[in-house]
Subunit: 601 residues, 2 copies
């Protein structure tokens, strides 16, 4: 069975029917591009993903990296994948031509990475971190730092990491302890330990550029005393050649349930005389800078989760289509032919749920990438501002919803396969194990609920929220004019009004009692995510309904659009109604969890 | 950290406060028993579990069984655990004294196994299957079969398996193809292949007794042509000594995501001249007989899921109590001391959810074991009949609810630990991997929804359902007289009435259109399970409230009872309201899944 990584028809739909990617070449930055070039780029990515990433997804899982005390060893296919991806120019793709880049729009780059994620999320991990680290230096580094580090990072000779978490600190960055001592030459010496650093050591590149959060000695407590440093594994000489080993040592590898081909490391900084670090930007503003990389990584996490959900969906769909199993309840004759699994209503339920989670997640992440694009290259200033506001608001949802429901999709894929889903002889159990990291890293789920409700929704007099309301409202208005989807306008209107009410109530309570107001922020995140996804599905349904009205439509397109319509129906009939109990719980400021005493557990 | 397997206070509560286990010695069969003997037995089980099962839970996961082409190799601790358990008499515990047993009540035996499951579900797998296989022979075997096979099975010299599933058939037993050819000597020769046979080969016992479903040549099609056979790995001579190898060959081991220390096998029967099999009972009635073992296994699966949920809860609770992390939203001072994880409302949510899933699941399974007991030893005939009816009705819930929500509990345990939850350096990720089998084996979830709605609810003029209604009603009535829990009476009443309505509507539709009526049976199973658990939590809350009213109660007991009360509050405020959308969906006979066409995926 040759199971596709994603679904070519859906990619076309998302990029060119749902989003307006085809118009990007009208923008100054992209005038040398065209839809054909975008497609050829994606075709290259898909070929690389199939040939160099999918080939060792199971092998990397079964043969995780080892550390011999000196060096880390990865299976050799990992390096081939890294070389193929960087050799095709993808590590530099987002940069301007004069920086050695391809001036590729963000949404095309991220779609390209959806393929590699679907093929092998573990190997892709090294790539997305390196792209993010380079982008961080690009945005906030000094000219000298850019000159020294960016060319080799774009060429794939250096990789990058984000070194935030410490053994005693998980999501609570305010309390990190790694510290930096200023030196006379303007550099710093770093001392401390970082944990769960993905790609913190490997055998892919000649150097690794760690982006490290640390406190300069004497800095204020909390998040306002955190600075950002570039701290390479090997020092880089003036002439760009690789110099001495820096005082950054691999203390050990961690052994994950999934994502096994990405090293997860404990790193010791400054076991001897301190690791040489270069301050990025101004002191004490490191967390602000790092938020760029974190936000980028959050979208990338959502995208990876979406891609894994898609893989599980595709595999379980193939299985369900080809496996004869039992008969329908109405058929009592044991001599009648068995039906395929897909004929059973409950199997269809599990496939439909996966379809809305996988396709919906991918739509959400590509929308986010499109907003990321628009915030800097949309033609008019207001559009740029609205894109930035909406992206900022939605980032917690983009990170969390695909992570939670993509993982759930993979659980359902396992269930469709039954016993076969539970054994390593089939690929789906690995998807679940891989995906399960996504609700944890880049801020555990609860962090994003607090970010959304405690910061994003209320900030700038709810400007971002207002853009969201307008955007949803526009889709509702549009849907009212489309016969096939009109039925969904009122339920989404109701859900949006419910979200408005809940939001108002929570913001009021939070002003006086933040502990109570934020107690159920995770539920708020889920509620907000469901409304967002209902909107995105309705938006897709409008496009599909319009597509169906074209005369002489090929049968395959008709089925595809019908699938989008029916998946929307599923979302509105099965998933959206659960917002009711959530809103009730939030509106009554349920304090059950808050009130639970430790001694009662 | 010395994390307990279960919770001693809760075991006492469940056995002696919620259930009336203390009165069992009043029954004729148990008159030589006492509460002290029960407790000593459980203490023995706990000690064995801690010493011989917990010791190799991680090791067995990391070193799964291997097959060298001749023999299967398990880590040696597995055999030590088997010997300790059988040496203490637990394999024979349920049998009468004159059969070499301990006449131990079912509920005590199953509580004992909750300890071994919590310590090592994979090693426990061999035991519960062997007990089940022996019980099956005991119930339906001929005197000669009992004489030949039961003594060594009770002594732990022979193990047992259930060999139902075939490569081309998962849950659809009607279509199994293994066949049996009658011989002149009254035995049969079996030919066919079985798959996913747990314990199908191992290095623990001198023989393995496979309980095999097969069709006698010429038998009717479907479930009415299935017979049950005893088919040992080695033939057993007249004098009880082990004879020649039977024609049952291990084709290979399967490699599971979890449960790795239990072999999962593909077995070939009759590669040469046929595997010698002994017909149990009458021809073509095999599935009826096997239902005894399946029902027993279904309760055992629920119990195992409950025990794993409990372990995850205990570990994440320890972690949350001891890990400083961040501050409450109301505390803005970065110099203030960090709080422990458990102080955060969202962490309390994840712990409370685990508490209701784990403790609720264990309560449900011990209730089922108590009903199992009562159906044969309750003093009066009506009580025996009511217990049998209720157990039969609830078996799909007992199998499925702990499997689904126990797995969810383990997912939450991982989330509480964050990054640490995802790495094999901590035990919780294994619990999830182990537990994920439980919603699959012994009938995937959908099978139990169809069993509940399609068979159990309607059968015998809804006699079982009526017993359930009466039982729930009695708890509601009782709760109305108890101040601290009165608030829960009305919501449960409402939920029960909702279930009544849904059940009536579905049965009506099913009579004319079984495909539509059963289309959403999995949702019905969840709805039914939630009402059942709401009842069980209210039942616990009544006991706790009464316990709290005792003067001079020790503080530890007060906290324990408060925990039960607050967990009930959580269940009623957070879990029960989700029945609303479920009932709406079922009442409107939602056909979204049924209507989805294969081509639209």
């Amino acid at each position: 069975m040759n199971t596709p990584l994603l679904n070519e028809r859906d990619i076309t739909f998302l990029l060119y029917e749902l989003l307006d990617t085809a118009s990007l070449p009208l923008r100054e930055r992209y005038r040398e591009h065209s839809r054909d070039i975008f497609n050829a780029t994606l075709q290259t990515a898909r070929t690389i993903a199939e040939k160099y990433f999918a080939n060792h997804n199971a092998k990397g899982d079964a043969n995780e990296p080892t550390f011999d005390g000196q060096n880390v060893h990865l299976i050799p296919e990992t390096k081939e994948a890294w070389d193929a991806f960087s050799g095709a120019g993808f590590l530099a793709a987002g940069y301007d031509y004069d920086e050695g880049g391809l001036q590729l729009p963000e949404v095309i780059l991220r779609t390209a990475m959806a393929y590699t994620n679907a093929a092998n999320i573990s190997t892709t991990g090294y790539l997305f971190l390196s792209i993010g680290a380079a982008n961080l230096i690009h945005a906030f580094g000094s000219p000298e730092q850019k000159t020294r580090f960016l060319p080799p990072m774009r060429e794939g000779r250096f990789a990058g990491t984000m070194a935030l978490t410490e053994p005693a600190q998980g999501s609570a960055l305010a309390d990190i302890r790694t510290y930096a001592v200023p030196q006379d030459d303007g550099t710093y010496r770093l001392f401390g330990q970082k944990m769960f650093i993905s790609g913190g050591d490997q055998s892919l590149t000649e150097n690794i550029v760690h982006m490290v959060l640390a406190r300069i000695k004497g800095a204020p407590a909390g998040v306002k005393g955190i600075s950002l440093f570039i701290c390479p594994k090997f020092l880089v000489n003036e002439d760009g050649t690789t110099g001495n080993r820096n005082d950054v040592a691999l203390a050990g590898l961690l052994h994950k349930m999934g994502w096994r081909n990405t090293t997860s490391t404990v790193l010791n900084f400054g076991e001897q005389d301190g690791a040489v670090g270069y301050l990025v930007g101004e002191p004490h503003k490191g967390l602000n800078y790092m938020f760029q990389m974190m936000n980028e990584a959050r979208i990338a996490v959502g995208l990876g989760a979406a891609a894994l959900a898609y893989q599980g969906y595709n595999h379980s769909l193939d299985y369900a289509r080809n496996r004869p199993q039992g008969r329908l309840p109405s058929s009592k004759d044991p001599l009648s032919k068995q039906v395929n699994l897909i004929a059973h209503a409950d199997v269809k339920r599990m496939l439909l749920a996966q379809k809305v989670y996988a396709e919906g997640s991918l739509a959400l992440c590509l929308l986010a990438s499109s907003l990321f694009e628009d915030q800097s290259t949309a033609p008019d200033a207001e559009a740029r501002q609205r894109a930035a506001l909406l992206l900022d608001l939605l980032t917690p949802v983009v990170k969390s919803w695909p992570s939670k429901y993509g993982t759930k999709a993979n659980e359902l894929a396992m269930q469709v396969l039954g016993g076969s889903g539970y054994i390593r002889e089939y690929p789906v159990e690995q998807f679940y194990r891989d995906n399960r990291l996504n609700p944890i890293h880049e801020g555990a789920e609860a962090i994003h609920g607090i970010d959304l409700l405690g910061r994003k929704v209320g900030q700038q007099q709810m400007a971002g929220y207002q853009v969201f309301r307008d955007t949803v409202g526009a889709t509702i208005a549009e849907s009212e004019g489309v016969e096939a989807v009109r039925e969904f306008a009122a339920p989404l209107q109701t859900a949006m009004a419910m979200l408005d009410g809940v939001t108002r109530n929570l913001l009021n309570v939070m002003a006086g009692n933040p502990d109570l107001g934020l107690a159920n922020a995770t539920v708020y995140l889920d509620l907000f995510g469901r409304v967002t996804m209902a909107w995105l599905w309705l938006k897709q349904a409008v496009v599909a309904a319009n597509g169906l009205s074209v005369e002489g439509l090929p049968e395959a397109d008709r089925h595809f659009y019908q699938g989008k319509l029916h998946a929307t129906r599923y979302f509105f009939h099965w998933e959206l109604p659960e917002t009711g109990p959530m809103a009730d719980l939030l509106n009554r400021m349920d304090s059950t969890c808050l009130d639970m005493e430790e001694a009662w557990f």
